[in-house]
Symmetry: C2
Subunit: 449 residues, 2 copies
Amino acid sequence: MNQLFADIESHSAAYLDRLVQVTAQPSIAAKGLGIAAVADLLTSMLRAIGFQVEQVDTDGSPVILAQMEGAGPQTLLFYNHYDVQPADPLEAWTTPPFEPTIREGKLFARGVADNKGAIIARIGAIESYLRVRGRLPVNLVWVIEGEEEIGSVHLHQFVTGREELLRTPLGCVWEAGGRNALERYEIALGCKGILYLELRTRGAARDLHSALAAVVANPAWRLLWALDSLKGPNGRIRIPGFSDDVRPPTPAQRRALAAMDYPEEQVRALYGIDSFLDGLTGLPLKERLVFGPTCNIDGFHTGYSGPGSKTVLPQEAMAKVDFRLVPDQQPAHVLELLRAHLDREGFSDVEIAWWEGEAPSASDPDHPFVQEAVSVAAQVYGHSPNVVPMSPGSGPTYLLCAQFGVPTVTAGVGYADSRAHAPDENIRLADWSDHMRYIVTLLERFAQP
Amino acid sequence: MNQLFADIESHSAAYLDRLVQVTAQPSIAAKGLGIAAVADLLTSMLRAIGFQVEQVDTDGSPVILAQMEGAGPQTLLFYNHYDVQPADPLEAWTTPPFEPTIREGKLFARGVADNKGAIIARIGAIESYLRVRGRLPVNLVWVIEGEEEIGSVHLHQFVTGREELLRTPLGCVWEAGGRNALERYEIALGCKGILYLELRTRGAARDLHSALAAVVANPAWRLLWALDSLKGPNGRIRIPGFSDDVRPPTPAQRRALAAMDYPEEQVRALYGIDSFLDGLTGLPLKERLVFGPTCNIDGFHTGYSGPGSKTVLPQEAMAKVDFRLVPDQQPAHVLELLRAHLDREGFSDVEIAWWEGEAPSASDPDHPFVQEAVSVAAQVYGHSPNVVPMSPGSGPTYLLCAQFGVPTVTAGVGYADSRAHAPDENIRLADWSDHMRYIVTLLERFAQP
């Protein structure tokens, strides 16, 4: 192992150059910006260290499929994504989002935590492994998609026809994760699902003088009341049938949840909040975070937003809403329930302008591959990792792995203040090096004795 | 009378030049834009025809006070405003809002209907009257303020110390009005009041990943629920005590309401709506329009508004809300009731960031001055005018007139498609000429026989 770690150490400057190069290039799927350039850049980096790489076309961003034969009969799957979140609000960044900058041992750039940092760390780890050992101990299949931040909307096109390939791996090293606010390394076993919607209401043919509110319906009120019908002030989701498919956590998941730490005080300080929702704390807080479905307003826009007063009856209103789903809620089914609920409640005028969804999945904490990943983390990080039975965020774990019976463990370069999806996204370079050490150690576990 | 009308006719090109000149100049109180320039322009136009003019300073726009002595002992008050609404959305204008353009007998410009058109028409009418008769038959006091579109927020500073002057007039020719969708001339007797508020809620110290919605309060939901507590889907305002000060219409007001026409089909076509709020029609529709208080969302903004999906838990939310008030609701009292209601309902976290208000007023339809104005309209327009017992819009009728016992009648240059407060605001030049004829005819009524 010392040899592997030493090789990583001695090449870290070159590996960091790669990271700067990749994070300097925007690749924002939501805006269709820079996707091909980053896909090409990663393809050439992967080929340079010996991967067979194919860019699989979809109706959206291409999916990078990189494969390398190893010594053993076993196959590992890696999953990452090369697209990033939009960078706005730009004015909130200390340095520009696509000018990677190192300050106090941290690299600041959009996408460095989520998750170009992990991609480049893994490339470095594999390069070092190959240099020291000559060959990987397992076959490696690496899927790097380009639409994770917009809900992996075309990844199913990649999956279709590749079911056999995707049934092969014994496990998948997923993206995301890193250290929590207690500096404990964290491994999440799958992801919540998501249903993301845009809702619209329309009123008069144009904005009217607000005096007419006495006799003309206001689409802002209509949309507001429709949203209120989804979730009221007590926080309970009011859509009949919404919770019917929620499967209670297994005993193994409950044990993992109880053992999981959640550093409440640090998290509150980081977010700048006095308390958690509904005053939750302890185990109930963790249970809500990990196993609780949500209904969240991502945006609501209607009418006048400028300074002072403008008396207007807006002609339309728009809201963006996401539901985080837990096993076995399926987004298409929740959408049906939602539409039926709106119609029943008298909100058939509320349009679902578009939607996208991902199914939830949570791997069994007792699965041997999960146990192996946990054990490797303990070895590399020097402490027993914090196992999160399911990530509160979403990703295509079900689509790519869980539906084929393949367990997933996250492995990442982030920390509690990485600010994924927010201004000043950053990673600590020490965490980045740890991720390389984690990957080579995991690979080494599969080497034949 | 023929002489007066002939003089107006023969000078209409010069009068129109004035209107183009004044509407070419923005004077947007909400943005503090162009106020002084338009105040100066009008001051010089008024002085040129013989008014004694004073610009009365306030903490906002100056109030133009123009006075002219006439033959009789009686005094008339005119009220107008020289400020206009903001012009956005600019892209929705056929021609730019501050490039006055004539198409098909209509003049398009921001503020031409509301209400620079009336100011310039009145100046023209008075100029013609003086040229033909040598002297006005009454004393004239003309108040032209520059903050009507932002709620006349400093007009009270003008009123204070001028109570004696404001108690003198036998009646006030107010701004606004014109022809309705049936081409019937309309006279409104006072205005609804208004309470305009900006509400704000705050959550975490910054935008968070929406996965955290499981455990972190969302200020968008908080504001939405607070608004829902003000008015539910049945449209009833839920603030206890809100309706306590609502005075039922008098028999004279009820008679006026019954006689008032409201061309429902044309109005629906103009607004592009299939039906009125709650399916109202006939007398109940008119009663709601004229005597119904409102609670309207003028704007609601939080979170992401761009294309596609961004999974965000917004850090704050903002709404602009207006209440239209009817006699004897007082804005400051409604504000107190609102704050108490929010606190009682658990929304003490909802901030009232700022507010402004105006009290309502409705003149007695049987008042002799009102009867005179109606009779003049019948003479000039050739039909009995449509009397609206109270305008559904707001204005400082209470502050400037009603509190001193002075009745108000609107007189304007608009028509049903004038698009006040909206893109493509316009007047028909024929209506503009009619307003000049109306003003000289009204003045003539007060001439000693």
